[in-house]
């Protein structure tokens, strides 16, 4: 990981506590991502996932630390970082086309109507909403609304997509199709994507790397799980892959037990050098530093 397209450096977020003091949601959090990478964050409710994402989006400011994107410390929000909101956040008084066009005109102020419309239409077609352009959000199903949110985010051709549990409110079938679409679009356009999810299978399907966070307050990034599944994995045959259960069990184990006891179990945890977990056929192999991974025997066997 020499290419640090996104680099979160030592960020902390504190809120004033009930009895005068301060409560830290997290302290000294480090996380980096390469260009074109898909990262998923998993952790229990309230551990600070949304807070990290909002800081990355520029919607929220860290109490300490900086976020560097493409070699520059971020200042506020940017059209380079598109957000797909959990609650879709469509403007209800605008049509589907109007919502996407709003984003397009925000990015390209000088474009004339026809050009904006044509550009917006491309992305509406991309998410499969052709024919619903003139509907209001209230006339759409939950899955369709979320698609509009995706079209809006993509229409500004961002460098990074930030997604906060984008599919959690959807039924399994819709979620599946949207996962396919997001994965296809991200692979095709080379997006760097950062997604929060509670769904382990979703993370395994979409992510190149999965970030595991411990429970808050005082949450830490405990482990980074590298996805052992091949790039051309399909959503429906994930479970046929030999490493699937190993990865899944590792993450579920973390969520069920180790996320609570992590701080006590690992007193020497170094937030700058989070352990990278590579899953072998039999047991997950925990490696101290990313550099060492390349020569690790378990890794060779796994291949």
């Amino acid at each position: 990981m020499t290419d640090k397209f996104i680099s979160i450096e030592a960020i902390a977020k504190r809120y004033p506590g009930a009895s005068g003091g301060e409560i830290a949601v997290f302290e000294d959090l480090w996380l980096s991502m390469a260009r074109g990478e898909f990262g998923c964050v998993i952790g229990h409710s309230g551990c600070g996932k949304t807070t990290v994402l909002n800081i990355l989006a520029g919607l929220d400011e860290p109490s300490e630390g900086t976020v560097i994107v493409d070699g520059q410390a971020i200042e506020g929000t940017s059209l380079d970082r598109a957000v797909i909101f959990q609650s879709h956040a469509l403007l209800p008084w605008r049509s589907v086309l109007g919502n996407v066009a709003y984003a397009v005109t925000s990015k390209w102020r000088g474009w004339d109507r026809a050009r904006v419309k044509a550009h917006a239409q491309t992305f509406i077609d991309l998410v499969g909403l052709t024919g619903s352009e003139h509907k209001r959000p209230s006339e759409l199903s939950g899955g369709m609304k979320q698609r509009v949110g995706i079209a809006r985010a993509l229409s500004i051709t961002p460098k990074i997509m930030l997604m906060d549990e984008p599919f959690s409110a959807l039924d399994a079938l819709t979620r599946g199709t949207l996962q396919d679409e997001v994965r296809r679009i991200c692979l095709e356009t080379g997006q760097t994507a950062f997604m929060i999810t509670h769904d382990v299978d979703e993370a395994i399907y979409l992510a190149d790397r999965i970030f595991l966070m411990t429970n808050g307050p005082g949450a830490v990034l405990a482990e980074i799980v590298e996805n052992p599944l091949p790039k051309d994995r399909g959503r429906t045959d994930l479970h046929r892959h030999p490493y699937y259960y190993a990865v899944r069990n590792h993450i579920v184990d973390f969520l069920v037990s180790r996320s609570k006891t992590f701080a006590a179990d690992m007193p020497g945890h170094d937030p700058r050098n989070v352990r990278v977990v590579k899953i072998g056929v039999s047991e997950p192999t925990i490696v101290a530093a990313p550099r060492a991974v390349e020569t690790h025997p378990a890794q060779t066997i796994a291949r």
Partner: protein
């Protein structure tokens, strides 16, 4: 189902109306000759004395008088005898002007209060004290400073319609969903464009509700204000006809005040529906 409900409601409404008119008619009709007097004296005393007719006009008197007014709404026979159309016109013009000024002041100021917690806190004590003051209490001060009764009435309308609009605008603006604001922020939309493209449409239903409350209050207040300042207007007409002891005209004026008030409310209700969005 709904249409039959509407039909049944209409039938009940008409029945109630007819019953009301009937009772009114019976209660005010004459009971026949009650006293014998010379014809000249009887003519002088009128039906009230001779036939036991109530001093209260019946529905037929009011209907006949109303028809006269409807035929000639805009006649002008000097300061104390103008058509009802002219009087209503004066009142509507005053309400319109005062209300328009209030819109111009209240909506931008409400935006400012809603968007800036500092201004909100700073202006709060003034609003809290000024808001409960009866608009008519301003009248002497207005007459003294403005020195024109017509303008004073407009000022009173302004002051009474400004508060609901101001408070509703401030509330609507402050209550715009955070996620919509965040959408604008992630799209790097500037403050002015954000105010017009996100906050205004989002707060519009609340703002228009305030405007609807205001127009209702303004129409209530104009009658009282015109009774005080005199000269022209439907409020003055009511008071003048009371002094003329023409209860028929008073009743007609009351009826028209109600009708115009309803129309004003309906216009605002229509605007409110236009800006309301389903979620």
């Amino acid at each position: 189902m709904t249409s039959s409900l509407r039909l049944r409601a209409a039938i009940v409404s008409i029945a109630l109306f007819l019953a009301f008119i009937g009772i009114w008619h019976i209660a005010t009709r004459g009971t026949g000759a009650v006293a014998t007097m010379t014809p000249e004296y009887a003519r002088l005393m009128g039906l009230t004395a001779t036939h036991g007719k109530s001093a209260m006009p019946g529905p037929l008197d009011v209907g006949a008088k109303l028809w006269e007014h409807v035929k000639r709404p805009f006649y002008d026979n000097g300061p104390n005898d103008k058509g009802l159309g002219i009087q209503l016109g004066y009142s509507i013009a005053r309400v319109g002007l005062g209300y328009f000024l209030a819109v111009i002041v209240a909506i931008p100021l409400g935006f400012l209060i809603g968007m800036s917690p500092l201004i909100n806190k700073a202006l709060d004590p003034f609003i809290q004290i000024l808001k409960p003051i009866s608009p008519l209490a301003w009248m002497p001060l207005a007459l003294y400073t403005i020195k024109d009764s017509g303008l004073s009435a407009i000022f009173v309308i302004f002051i009474c319609s400004v508060w609901p609009m101001l408070l509703n605008t401030a509330f609507g603006v402050a209550a715009v969903r955070k996620e919509w604001i965040n959408v604008a922020r992630t799209l790097e939309v500037g403050t002015v464009r954000r105010a017009f493209t996100v906050i205004l449409p989002a707060a519009a239903p609340t703002i228009l509700t305030g405007m609807r409350i205001s127009i209702g209050i303004a129409w209530l207040v104009i009658v009282a204000a015109e009774m005080l300042v005199g000269g022209t207007g439907i409020g003055y007409f009511v008071w003048n006809e009371w002094n003329n002891l023409s209860i028929t005209n008073v009743i007609i004026a009351i009826l028209l005040i109600g009708v115009v008030g309803m129309l004003l409310d309906q216009i605002l209700a229509r605007f409110t529906r236009m800006v309301t969005f389903p979620e």
